[in-house]
Amino acid sequence: MLHKYKVNGGFDEMLCPKTGVRGHYKKFHKLFESLKPKEFQAKREAIDTAFLRQGVTFNVYGDAEGAEKIFPFDLVPRIIPASEWEYLERGLAQRITALNLFLHDIYHEQKILKDGVIPEFYVLSARHFRREFVNFEVPKGIYIHICGTDLIRDKDGNYLVLEDNGRCPSGVSYVLENRRAMKRAFPGMFESIGVRPVENYAQELLKSLKYIAPAGVADPTVVVLTPGVYNSAYFEHTYLARQMGIEIVEGRDLLVRDSRVFMRTTKGLQPVHVIYRRIDDDFIDPTVFRRDSMLGVPGLINAYRAGNVSLANSIGTGIADDKVMYYFVPRMIKYYLDQEPILPNVPTYLASEEKDMKYILEHLPELVVKAANESGGYGMLMGPKASKAEIEKFRELIIAEPRNYIAQPMIHLSQHPTYCDDNFDGRHIDLRPFVLSGERVSIIPGGLTRVALRKGSLVVNSSQGGGSKDTWVLYGDK
C-alpha cells in the first residue's frame, strides 16, 4: 500500500531519496505492503470506534454541547532505531539534569547569575519565577519530576530541541493508548519487528512520585490532582490515576488542617503525602496565588512549605518553560555539567538583545516569532505564512515588550508517511518524549509523535488539526 508513497521535499523519516526505504523501516514496510486496502480500512475504523467508545478524547473548548473529540490517530508508526534512541536518551537526560540544577541554583545561591552566564534581568523578570520559593528546600532537590521535551528534525534529519515543558506536560496517555490500539490492530508485527514496550510508564511514574514522599512516611498516599472534568486533559488524569492505582482528586476533595493535607472520604479525613498536580501554580492555592481560584486547595502551599506534602512538579518550574530561558539551556549544560550539549537548540534570537532585535525586525517575514510564556501554538507568528497585517501586528508587540518575544528561523520539520484522503502522503511530525526524574532519570521509549494532518502545515497541536502516531523504538537498528 505504501509503494506509491514518494518523498515530497524535506527530510523523510521512512524514505531516503538515494537508497529507498531506510533500514529501520524495512521490516515494517514489507509487512505493511502485504496488507490489503480493505483490511487497512477495517482496522482504521475499528480503532476510531474503540477510541470514541472508551472515551479516549479531548474536550473542545467553547462547545455548548460539551463535544469531545478523539485525537486523530494515524496507523503508520514512527520508527526510531536503537542507536538513535540511545543518543536521544543521553541528550534528554543531560538536559533535564541541567534544568534541575539550574532551578535549584536560581532558587538558592543564584551562582549562574552572579557569574554572569545568564543576565540576572531575564530570570528575575520571568513571569513564572516564584520569588516566594527562594531558599525553599524541595524534596530530594528535584524540581521537574515529569518533563515533556519537544524534539523536531531539520531538513538534514538532525534532532533539535524545540521547547521544554516543565509544568504539567500532557499527552502520555495517548502514547499508552496508541500502543494498545496498534497491538490490537497489528498483533503480528511487534514481535517480528522487535519494538520496545512502553507499558511500565505508570509504575515508573509512581516510583518517582513515591521517591519524593516527606521524610518518615513509610507508605505514602499519592494522589493525582486534576482541575476537573472540563479540563482538556481530564481523560489523561483519570487514565494515569487508574494505571497507578491511586486516587484522582479535585481541589474540593482536599483540605488542609494544621499544615497537613487530607482528602475527604466516606470514612472521614485521610492524610495525603504526595500530589501529582495537573494544576498550574497560579491556581493551586487561592491563599497564596490567584485569589479567585476555585480549583485549588486553600493552605496547600503552607503544608508544602512545612514539608508535610510533596508536589510534582515543584512550584516555580514554569520558568524553565520560558522561551527566553530555553535560549540559555546550552549555557546551563556547559556551566553545571561542563559538557557540550548533546541535543542542540533551534537557533534563537532574543528580542531584548539589541543586535538580535535588529535582526528580528529586519527578517520578520522569514522568522517564527513566539511569545515567551505561551504554549499550545498560541501567541505565535509564522513569518513565511503570515499576512502583512499579522507581521506588522507582531512588529508592534515585539517593540512594545521585547522581553516577551523570541524568534527562530522556520524549521522544515521532518515528514512521515501518513494516511490522508485515501492515500499515503508526507506530513510533518515532531516528538515529545516524557522524561521522569526520581532516584534516576527514566525515559519511556519513544514518546508522543504528533503529526500535522493538514498538508504543508507545521503546527502539530491537537487544538489546531494535529493527530498522533504510535512511536516505535526498536531493540536493534534494523
Binding site: 470514541l52 467508545r53 472508551q54 472515551g55 479531548f58 474536550n59 473548548y61 485525537f71 515543558n165 509544568r167 504539567c168 506536560p169 500532557s170 499527552g171 482541575p227 476537573g228 472534568v229 472540563y230 479540563n231 482538556s232 486533559a233 481530564y234 481523560f235 483519570t238 487514565y239 490515576a241 487508574r242 486516587e247 484522582i248 482528586v249 479535585e250 474540593r252 476533595d253 482528602m263 475527604r264 472520604t265 466516606t266 470514612k267 495537573r278 494544576i279 498550574d280 491556581f283 479567585d292 481560584s293 476555585m294 480549583l295 514554569g318 505561551e374 504554549s375 499550545g376 501554538g377 498560541y378 504528533r450 497541536n461 491537537s462 487544538s463 494535529g466
Partner: protein
C-alpha cells in the same frame, strides 16, 4: 473512598435506573392506548397526565407545554432538554457522573454507558424513535439491563459497588411507587374497589408490565388482575426484584455493608430510616394500606425514600459538592489548557 466519588457512583446508578424507568412507563402507556377504544382528546389526556405526575415534574411540564397530549408528554419525558429528568438528560447525567469517576469503574461499564450516551445523542436515535417508539425503548431498556449486568459481573465488591447499589435500589423503589400511583384516580380515596371494568383491568396490567412484573405476577395470581393484588405484589412481595419491599431490603443490606453495622442497630439516620421503613413493609398487609388510601400511602413512601437519600448524603458525603459558581469554575478548568499544550 473519596466522598465525591461515592456521590458520583450513587448518582450514576440512580440516573441509569431513572432512564430505564422512564422508558418502561412511557412504552407501556403507548402500548396500552392501542388497546383502548373511543379515545378523544380529553380521555387521552387522562392517560398522559398521570404519567407526568408520576415522574414528579408536572410543574416543569406545564411551563413548556399547554396540554398533556401524547406527543408533548413523550417528547418532554424522552428528549426534553428543559426536563432535567428526561430519559436523554438522565443518560447524559449518568454518563457525566461516570466520567468523573472513570478511574473507579470498569472499562466494560464505561464503554456501554458511553455507547448508550452516544446513541441517544446521535441523529440515529431520532430515526429509531420515529420508526417506532417501541424499538427505541427496547434499546434503552436492553442497554440499562446490560449495564446492571456489567456492574454485577465486573465491579469489585467494595464500597464503590455498595454506593452504586444504594443508588440503584433507592431509585427503583421510588419509581415503582410512582408507577403504581399512575392509576390512582380510578381508585376510591380509601378502601379497595369492589369491581373493576375491563378497561381498568387493562390499565392495571399495564402497570405491572411497566415494572416487568407481568410474568411474575401471573405465576402467582394467574390472569386475575385486581388493584389490590397488583399493589400487594409491587409493594410487599418478598421476592420480586422490583417490589418496594425487595428494594428497601436490599438497600438495608447495602447500607450495612458500607458501615459494617449489624442488623437491628444503626449508626446514622440513613440506616435508621431504612430499617424502620423495611420493618413497616414487612409487617403490613395490603388491606391496611388501602385503609389509609393507596395514593396517600405511596406519597408517604416517596417522602420516606427521599429522606433516606438525604440522610445518606449527610452521613457520607458531608457537604454538597456543588461549585459556588459553575460557569466560573468551568472557565478556570478550561484555562488550564494553557499549560497542557497538546
Amino acid at each position: 473512598m473519596l466522598s465525591r466519588v461515592a456521590n458520583s457512583l450513587y448518582w450514576m446508578a440512580r440516573y441509569i435506573e431513572r432512564a430505564e424507568n422512564i422508558a418502561r412507563i412511557v412504552d407501556v402507556n403507548l402500548q396500552l392506548l392501542l388497546d383502548i377504544r373511543n379515545l378523544d382528546e380529553k380521555r387521552l389526556a387522562a392517560y398522559w397526565l398521570p404519567i407526568v405526575q408520576a415522574t414528579g415534574d408536572e410543574e416543569n411540564f406545564f411551563k413548556a407545554h399547554r396540554k398533556a397530549t401524547g406527543a408533548a408528554v413523550t417528547e418532554f419525558l424522552v428528549f426534553g432538554k428543559e426536563n432535567p429528568n428526561s430519559l436523554v438528560q438522565s443518560i447524559c447525567a449518568a454518563r457525566e457522573n461516570a466520567r468523573m469517576v472513570r478511574d473507579q469503574i470498569t472499562l466494560e461499564l464505561w464503554e456501554e454507558l458511553n455507547r448508550l450516551y452516544l446513541f441517544v445523542r446521535s441523529p440515529q436515535a431520532r430515526e429509531v424513535w420515529e420508526r417506532g417508539a417501541s424499538d427505541f425503548f427496547h434499546e434503552i431498556k436492553a442497554s440499562s439491563l446490560h449495564i446492571i449486568g456489567i456492574i454485577d459481573a465486573t465491579l469489585i465488591r467494595n464500597e464503590g459497588l455498595w454506593f452504586v447499589q444504594a443508588g440503584q435500589f433507592l431509585e427503583r423503589a421510588d419509581k415503582t411507587t410512582r408507577i403504581l400511583d399512575v392509576r390512582y384516580q380510578s381508585l376510591p380515596e380509601r378502601g379497595v374497589p369492589e369491581r373493576i371494568s375491563p378497561d381498568e383491568a387493562l390499565e392495571w396490567s399495564a402497570v405491572l408490565r411497566s415494572c416487568s412484573a407481568w410474568d411474575a405476577y401471573k405465576t402467582i395470581h394467574a390472569s386475575d388482575v385486581h388493584p389490590r393484588k397488583v399493589a400487594e405484589f409491587l409493594l410487599l412481595d418478598d421476592n420480586f426484584p422490583r417490589s418496594v419491599r425487595f428494594c428497601v431490603n436490599e438497600l438495608n443490606h447495602v447500607l450495612r455493608r458500607i458501615s459494617g453495622v449489624a442488623e437491628g442497630r444503626f449508626t446514622n439516620d440513613a440506616e435508621k430510616l431504612t430499617g424502620r421503613f423495611l420493618a413497616e413493609l414487612q409487617f403490613s398487609t395490603v388491606d391496611e394500606i388501602f385503609e389509609v388510601g393507596l395514593h396517600k400511602y405511596l406519597d408517604e413512601a416517596q417522602l420516606k425514600l427521599n429522606n433516606i437519600g438525604a440522610a445518606l448524603f449527610r452521613a457520607y458525603i458531608f457537604q454538597p459538592f456543588e461549585a459556588p459558581d459553575e460557569v466560573h469554575m468551568v472557565q478556570q478548568e478550561e484555562q488550564q489548557q494553557q499549560s497542557q499544550n497538546q
